[in-house]
Symmetry: C2
Subunit: 340 residues, 2 copies
């Protein structure tokens, strides 16, 4: 194992000063061609790589973004993450990733660990526990320390920062309207993530669409909980005892469990029951029948968030207004909904 080459060593071996080496390697015109070439070749020979840590210390910037994701096993977050990583890389930034596991404590701990010079800014989606407890002090503190934050998907109006969101409300109105156009009148609203801000917005969209179409809200067709087990239990009851012709699922668990139970009961999809759900990733296509989805363009969300953060980091403006970008969803009609 060769010892790592440093400017100092190279300088000594070549009998020049450290600054000469530094300048030669950065191709400064101050240095004469012959010495430049000599130094550059020697450096290559020694496999010299400038120590990034030293450069970071000097620049007081790390070109590194801290990303905090509630749960990487959720394909939506995986997509957003890959968008962030892609954009960051293009712009020459690295990405330190932490998974909050929906825990407020881990979120706070992570931000504390990284906000000491390790990263230049954060991109994050608020953990479930944080949203439940409405505890946002840690975000505000970080921002007041001059570290910019970009929030995506699960945001808080209480925190002043850049945001990238999905038009959850409009998407839902649109999706439920689509079900109604297909002839559905008894549309169930199902969610197992009711504690999240996005679920609330989506549920409001459902109400709006029904109202607009003069369809009465039937509470018996609505399951809103944040407990998957309770959800499954109530879902079974709903499928067994209620008559429905449409399902609007606010999360993947809700829509897929509903399809599974309906198929088990012998209900024909889409002939007797149309299903639309929020979902990401490749799996909705693999179901039989494939699931019609509201797709959230996670990669774009990630790219946009990274772009926003990097722009902020690289702008010298102290006065930089906070922006909120909305990424439109797309209704992907597959085989769980009838064709018009």
């Amino acid at each position: 194992m060769k010892p790592k080459a440093t400017l100092k060593q190279i300088a000594k071996e070549l009998n020049v000063s450290v600054s000469t080496v530094s300048k030669a390697l950065s191709n400064s015109p101050e240095i004469s061609e012959p010495t430049k070439i000599k130094i550059q070749e020697f450096a290559k020979l020694k496999n010299y790589k400038p120590n990034n840590i030293a450069i970071n210390l000097k620049n007081r910037s790390t070109k590194t973004i801290g990303v905090i994701i509630p749960n990487i096993l959720n394909p939506f977050f995986a997509k957003v993450f890959s968008g962030i990583e892609k954009m960051a890389n293009e712009k020459g930034y690295n990405v330190i990733t932490c998974i909050s596991n929906e825990s407020l404590k881990k979120e706070i701990h992570t931000m504390d660990m990284l906000s000491n010079g390790t990263i230049d800014g954060f991109i994050l989606s608020i953990s479930e526990e944080t949203q439940k407890q409405q505890e946002f002090k840690h975000f505000k503190e970080i921002i007041s320390e001059g570290i910019p934050i970009v929030m995506f998907d699960r945001i808080s109006d209480e925190v002043n920062c850049d945001k990238v969101i999905v038009d959850d409300f409009d998407s839902s109105v649109n999706a439920v309207n689509h079900l109604i156009t297909l002839g559905c009148r008894k549309i169930a609203l199902l969610t197992s993530i009711d504690n999240l801000s996005v679920a609330k917005l989506r549920a409001q969209g459902y109400v709006k669409a029904l109202n607009d179409n003069d369809i009465a809200i039937n509470k018996d067709l609505i399951i809103r909980t944040d407990n998957p087990d309770e959800f499954d239990f109530r879902l079974k009851d709903l499928i067994d005892n209620q008559e429905i012709d449409g399902i609007f699922g606010l999360d993947e668990h809700a829509s897929t469990m509903a399809m599974k139970m309906a198929i088990k009961k012998g209900i024909k999809i889409p002939e007797e029951l149309s299903v639309i759900g929020f979902a990401d990733g490749v799996w909705s296509r693999r179901l039989t029948p494939s699931l019609s989805t509201i797709s959230q363009h996670g990669i774009e969300i990630g790219e946009e968030a990274a772009k926003m953060l990097i722009e902020k980091l690289e702008s010298k403006d102290e006065e930089y207004a906070y922006r909120t970008t909305v990424i439109k969803t797309e209704l992907r009609q597959r085989d769980s909904t009838r064709k018009l």
Copy 2:
């Protein structure tokens, strides 16, 4: 936005020297109680956090692990990643993640970018392109620079380093034996990732199991390709024209597409056809019927890889033998295979 507190500033404001502040904050017994308390309280007031970059420079260690993952949208890798992140965090390490996107060039570029002091070691799974081209020079170089690597899942025998793998061969023998026990005799072998080392091992297991049970290999029941479109095309042909009673899928695309096409053709699963596939994540449970899988314990793999790397980083032994850990898989019987 408050200016960041540094030792120097605190020292000046308190009319003491930098080293006194440093010692006081690290609770050194050299400093008298009163000054210690004064300094510590003032530091807390100013929200002082020691600059990590400076500490890294001093220690010539970053407590950061570089992770390179071929594709985070694959739930297996997402699981491994979450295992790595969890263990790293417990041990006080951060994780810089890059996605190679199955590209050799990106893999090389990433390793080059990070091996300049940014990270202490790597955990990675080799990209598809790298495996195809059998190009491993960059790994060897990094190792010769003294930066340890732990490879997982997709590894190369050519590279000398710690490894964490799955017992792909044995798992396959076991899974195919299970199908045979269920009475299957015409078992299809399906894969759309045939270029990967793991697929080759899994295919060998299939052959072994058939041989052991004196079942002749029927080439018409085997699809091995690395092109999903070609796979789908050949799969349709196979389902339409061959008689099969079992399917062994080496990747998620293969098993799920096979189930989808079989259901479409009216074949009853599991009554007429049993399906087992390698798969991770929650989705195999959501299919109808739910898919019986060989589950790879991705989280454990990640945890083990992180543990290995950190042990290596923290051991002063120059002579540290390379280890290969095998994580056993588990056959999860669900509804796509008959019960005995």
